[in-house]
Amino acid sequence: METIRIEGLTKQFPSGWPGRPPATVLDGLSLSVRQGEIYGFLGPNGSGKTTTIKVLIGLIRATSGSVELLGKPVGDVPTRRRIGFLPESPYFYDYLTAEEFLMFYGHLAGMDRAGLAGRVSRLLEVVGLVEARTRQLRKFSKGMLQRVGLAQALIHDPELVILDEPMSGLDPIGRKQVRDLILGLRDQGKTVFFSTHIIPDVEMICDRVGVIVKGKLLATGRVDELVNQGHTQSVEIACQGISVERIPAIQAMASRVVQRGSQSLIVLPGPAPLESALAEIRKQGGTLISVTPHKSSLEELFFQSQGQGQGQGSLAPARSAMGA
């Protein structure tokens, strides 16, 4: 089942000047997020991530296209009871204490006071703010605000959690806590959609990822498939007992060879010549130590996508590794 379904989403903002065309921030964006998965929405600054999330939350209206959350059109007020949201660099009512703040958001979600008290204590514990529960938010650090913001997104136990740059402003410990929290949400069967421009965050915890550049989705799919499909992989062969510099057949196949004493490192540009290279090594009397396929990282894909977005007049269509 699809928890988020976006089809042909376009958002234009008026330029503010007569005769000047509107700025297109989202350009026919389509993606889907399945129930129970962690979906990373990856893109450079200004690519349209926050605008997409604003449309999902109903803060701005789409110029065209359709968006559904939990099977209902975006803007359906009762559905919001099932959605949690943390904006980027959140700013909250700083005159409230952490406890009052969470109670307020719980009440807004329609929760009663009795159920809320226990939930507030539990969440403050989860985000490590029990000691600061009676402190006003104006006295919170940026990291603490981010954590209390996460707590407010989860106060009503939502099925879908939408987080805009949830790791920004956090130290390494805080980032790990947030990652663990997101993984915990998936274990509970929740769906998490989060935007980021930090690639390792995506690689570590996401089931699937979408890469957005200049308002277009350039790639979407599972992280492992996305980094492999359609991208050149290299293969490294380590062997000993031969001097590869003196074997023209291997040199012709390799993109790079390194000889260190009796050990050789042969880098092939892809998996295709692997069998021939191994046969040649055996034929020359060499001993195989290891064969390591070198996969392109999400970072490489990200930069390639950015290059596509910036370098071409028309962008490449979204490529789905999952066929989604």
């Binding site: 939350i57 701005i60 949690g84 904006p87 909250f92 005159y95 009052e100 958001y105 807004l108």
Partner: protein, 254 residues
Amino acid sequence: MWPVVVIALNTFRENLRDKILYNLVFFALLLIGASTLLADLTIMEHHRMITDMGLAAINVVGVVIAIFVGIGLVGKEIERRTVYTIMARPIRRTQFILGKYLGLVMTLGVNMAVMVIVFLATLWLYRAPVHGVLMQAVALIFVEVLLVTAMALFFSTFTTSTLSASFTIGMFVVGHLTMDLKGIAEKSQSETVKAVTNSVYYIFPNLEMLNVKAQAAVGVGVPYAYQATASLYGLLYTAALLVGACIIFQRRDF
């Protein structure tokens, strides 16, 4: 709890913690200080002047808070982006606007109640007569404050805090001059002047309708029918501004 009530109570708490009611200390000092001074300076009419001064102070303090807190009611939420997480909750934008408005009205109500108590205490202190018409004047001042709050909220749904303040103050000032504009329209030979002044007269609220301070100061009551009509007029204008604010807020992007 209803979302409107949740937001109203939170707005009320925000106002209290922003120390808005501290103005009451200023009000009390101003009133008592000025009354003492006037008691020394005037021989015959100092009771009337104390009454006049007290009602004017209640009016000015109420309107100033209505304008300067009112323009930030929604504007501050948008500028600071606190509105993002609120709009993500199962509440309608209209409920948000009404909740914010009611929260400030609660603050203004408490503020005005305390000011009236201080005012009555001052009158008692100087043995000035307390007429029922004083409460009529206070009630109409409160209606004016409700209307000015709605003006500030209306403007803040589509423009910056500075412009909202300017528009609200402008509307407040013109609102007190509409009868003069009507007079200009009647006397003017120019059709353009007539059209402009008449338009302003009919579009802007007639805030002088809500001003019976002069009668109250001399203890002359106003008919209840007039008070009811003036209150209804003020409340209808307030409702129209709130509907306008809701429509604009409903359509805007954040």
